[in-house]
């Protein structure tokens, strides 16, 4: 298996754990084997060191030098329109839908359950049809 995403300066990462969970940032420096310095001026992720156990590497990258200041990082992100790119990913959409599901009230959950049942019935009906044809 060939790795394609690496912990490297300029790698765009998603924080998956802790206070800043769900925020996007950029690796500005690699501190040691466990930690990196991240900065996310567009998402409100403060510039701080973070253990990369609580990070997820995204396929995106920006060109910055290690130790770049926040302003430089912001510029690099804006130039690449990274937030728009990120928001068009399936990954982001999944996170959103998960959040939306979490926010549902009891009645909405009930309606969702009914919708799911309907969908399943339709799918199953089609599957049955196809099976009988073959």
């Amino acid at each position: 298996m060939v790795f394609k995403r690496f912990v490297e300066v300029g790698r765009v990462v998603l924080v998956t754990y802790g206070e800043h969970r769900g925020k996007l940032g950029v690796i500005v420096d690699v501190v040691d084997q466990n930690r990196v310095l991240v900065d996310g001026p567009q998402t409100g992720l403060p510039r701080h060191t973070i253990n990369f156990k609580s990070l997820a590497l995204t396929p995106f990258q920006v060109k910055i030098q290690h130790g770049s200041r926040t302003g430089v990082v912001r510029k690099a992100l804006e130039e690449k329109k990274l937030m728009e790119q990120w928001k068009s990913t399936l990954w982001y959409k999944k996170l959103c839908s998960r959040e939306n599901r979490r926010k549902l009230g009891d009645f909405e959950r009930f309606k969702l359950m009914i919708a799911k049942k309907k969908k399943a019935a339709m799918v199953n009906g089609q599957v049955k049809k196809l099976k009988s044809h073959s």
């Binding site: 979490r102 549902l104 009230g105 009891d106 009645f107 009930f110 009914i114």
Partner: protein
Amino acid sequence: MGFSPFPFSQAPLPISFNHSLVLVVDADSSSFYRIAMASTSGEVQQKGKEQVGQDKEQSARTSDKITKPKRKWYPADDEPRKRVHRKKVQKPTKLRASITPGTVLILLSGRFRGRRVIFLKQLASGLLLVTGPYSLNGVPMRRVNQRYVIATRTKVDIQSVEIPAVDDDWFKKNKKKPKTEEMTDTGKTKLPETFIKAQQSLDSQLVPLVKEVPFLKSYLCSRFSLSYGQFPHEMRF
């Protein structure tokens, strides 16, 4: 233990006896006394009778500054204190902010646990008056404690509904007066006619309102339950 207002050296009256013991009576409140026996090995024995007199004066002065004793003597027995009787006033139960007339509630205990019901009003006792409505899910007008209820965000607009004049007495089982309640074959007491009529008139008003909102009818008919991966403390209702 009592708490002495002055350090031990300033204790009011060291009364010296001929024995090698000194009885120190130290009162910190009118009802509590501490009696300590101290050996007179050191200073006290050396003081003559005159000195004791001086000490008395001194201690009287110092204690005057600190606390004035109300009496010159201490009662030997505890005096009965008058107890202040406070009237117990039951405050009206505060209705949870999330519960307003028309709110759909999930019952958590009792025979109808898991049922979704509509909240009508709060009774004088603080209990909530709810109904299914009866014709939909079988929950009649009922009193429930708001502790045993989950309030959902779903609300039915029941402003137009005329809620029957139900109070807590409606729900009291009157054993002495079975005139209105007839015994049926199964041994159960029949509901009073007034209750049935009130329920019917309420249902006839509520059901059309429920039917206006899509899926609400089947929602009220269904029962609430938790499935795998659902944690009530993390869920929103």
